[in-house]
């Protein structure tokens, strides 16, 4: 009996962890299929305009994933991100990330451009893209 309890506790925890993971949706950073993994710091550089080699893609401001993404990836709120890009735009260093309407459009864009980086809900991942970083 004791033996059974011991073996079932780790099993139960494993099951619970799977359930929790499925319920708390991760935001995942996606690129084209051949891309290498990104660190959080590299990702922040891309979305704060400090990396010209990769092209960031945004979801619309109305999408709640966008705000959560920036909080996780850069520790910054939307006005602070706007501040950073205002400075870059009005000194000729570039335009803010292009906005695409939904996860399907983001996946299509990153699948077709090896330099493009996007973020989507973990539940929307499919074989057309590679997850280069999981934010949670």
């Amino acid at each position: 009996m004791n033996m059974r309890v011991r073996t079932s506790i780790p099993g139960f925890i494993a099951v619970l962890a799977t359930v929790v993971q499925a319920q708390v949706r991760d935001i995942v950073v996606v690129m084209g299929p051949g891309a290498a993994a990104l660190t959080k710091s590299q990702l922040a550089n891309v979305y704060l305009g400090r990396n010209n080699n990769l092209t960031p893609i945004d979801l619309p401001e109305s999408n709640p994933i966008r705000q959560a993404f920036y909080k996780y990836a850069t520790d910054r709120d939307p006005p602070q991100i706007k501040t950073v890009w205002s400075r870059l735009t009005f000194t000729g260093h570039g335009q803010p990330p292009k906005e695409l309407e939904n996860a399907a459009a983001v996946k299509k864009a990153v699948a077709g451009d090896p330099k493009a980086v996007g973020y989507i809900d973990g539940a929307d991942v499919d074989a057309s893209v590679k997850v280069v970083l999981v934010l949670n």
Partner: protein
């Protein structure tokens, strides 16, 4: 004057709204056009009859107590890109330019060639990036404060450079090194009391290196403007020479999303005016600022110090000023701001009519809204 101000602003806002419609238009000729803009509507109150200015390129005849035109401005920028490596950027801005009326001027206008993603070559008019925020000084929304510390920013009146600029970005792991070099000519009318003099530089250059890592930024720069100058020595005599006005500066910025720390130091040197054996103006200046974001509210405390050596323009003097600035991000593209400073009236960095003999301090209170669109 208020009527003129209102009509100018209405006209500019009209233009802005019209251009806002243009934003959505995409040409099929292969040229992508993006229109964006920025502005500030605000003003400054100065106590005791002193006339507050941002720098000597500004001209005011009277102190109107609360001056709504001093800090107000609006800029519109067009980015036209052709393919991935060619673009043209033009930025027009309406603000006071050496008079109390608003007028349009070109802040940026250059052709940019991007041979690789880390190299940009620009030809045309660019900003003279003497200090950390010189290139975006008029974009209030991009700044944590309402106005940049006068101790540093009032000393460089030249704002643009007509010539060439090269920018090179080197990435070493997660460290980013940005190198910039610019060379060209520049010109600016400066005011001293009722006298206005136009300084036309035959050559000017700026060299900048900036290192970014995580939330840290370190920047060093050297900027020199060379212009011919005639200094009167008496009623009938004058000396003509070439003035070499040089700034060496170092800047530091830390911003982790909550805490902001900003600090800059600069040393201004000029060659001696012949026969007088004194430079036109020399100084050491610095500031340190620290703030914290409480949600939408960001208070910032600023301490600035200006130490001027004995020169033709100023007596040897030293002055320090505390300032408090508040930023409130009210909606997604508008920030309300207020700033309070109490500088000594002897400080020429703050006033058009400094009183070098007085120890008095006066209140300088600014309020306004910065926006981008």
């Amino acid at each position: 004057m208020k009527g003129l101000y209102a009509s100018t602003l209405t006209a500019v806002i009209g233009v802005t709204v019209t251009l806002g419609v243009v934003t959505s238009v995409r040409a099929d000729s292969g040229i992508n056009t993006t229109i964006s803009g920025f502005g500030t509507m605000g003003g400054t109150y100065t106590g005791d009859g002193y006339t507050y200015i941002h720098n000597p390129s500004e001209f005011k005849t009277t102190n109107s107590q609360f001056d709504l035109g001093l800090d107000s401005r609006i800029g519109v920028q067009a980015d036209l890109s052709y393919g991935t490596d060619l673009s043209v950027i033009v930025q027009e801005e309406a603000k006071r330019r050496g008079s109390e009326n608003f007028s349009l001027g070109t802040e940026w206008a250059f052709l940019q060639y991007t041979p690789t993603s880390d190299v940009k070559l620009r030809l045309g008019r660019v900003a003279l990036a003497t200090f950390l925020m010189s290139d975006s000084r008029d974009v209030g929304y991009a700044q944590p404060w309402f106005r940049a510390p006068n101790e540093i920013y009032a000393d460089e009146p030249f704002e643009t450079l007509d010539g060439g600029q090269a920018l090179w970005r080197v990435s070493i792991g997660e460290i980013v090194l940005d190198l910039e070099g610019a060379y060209g000519t520049t010109s600016q009318a400066l005011h001293s009391g009722s006298i206005a003099l136009t300084f036309s530089a035959k050559s000017a250059y700026n060299l900048t290196a900036a290192l970014s890592f995580d939330n840290f930024l370190l920047r060093v720069a050297e900027t020199t403007v060379l212009f011919p100058l005639t200094v009167p020595l008496g009623p009938t005599t004058a000396v003509s020479y070439s003035d070499h006005d040089k700034f060496r500066s170092a800047g530091f910025q830390y911003d982790d999303g909550k805490a902001i720390v900003l600090s800059e130091w600069a040393k201004r040197t000029e060659n001696d005016v012949p026969l007088v054996n004194r430079p036109l103006a020399i100084s050491n200046e610095w500031y340190a600022a620290g703030g914290w974001r409480f949600g939408k509210l960001t208070p910032l405390l600023i301490y600035g110090k200006w130490d001027g050596g004995l020169s033709v323009v100023y007596p040897a003097a030293s002055a320090a000023t505390w300032s408090v600035s508040l930023r409130y991000d009210i909606v997604r593209n508008v920030a309300l701001k207020a700033q309070f400073s109490r500088p000594p009236v002897s400080l020429s960095a703050y006033f058009a009519n400094p009183n070098f003999a007085s120890n008095e301090r006066v209140n300088v209170i600014s309020m306004g809204a910065d926006f981008v669109f």
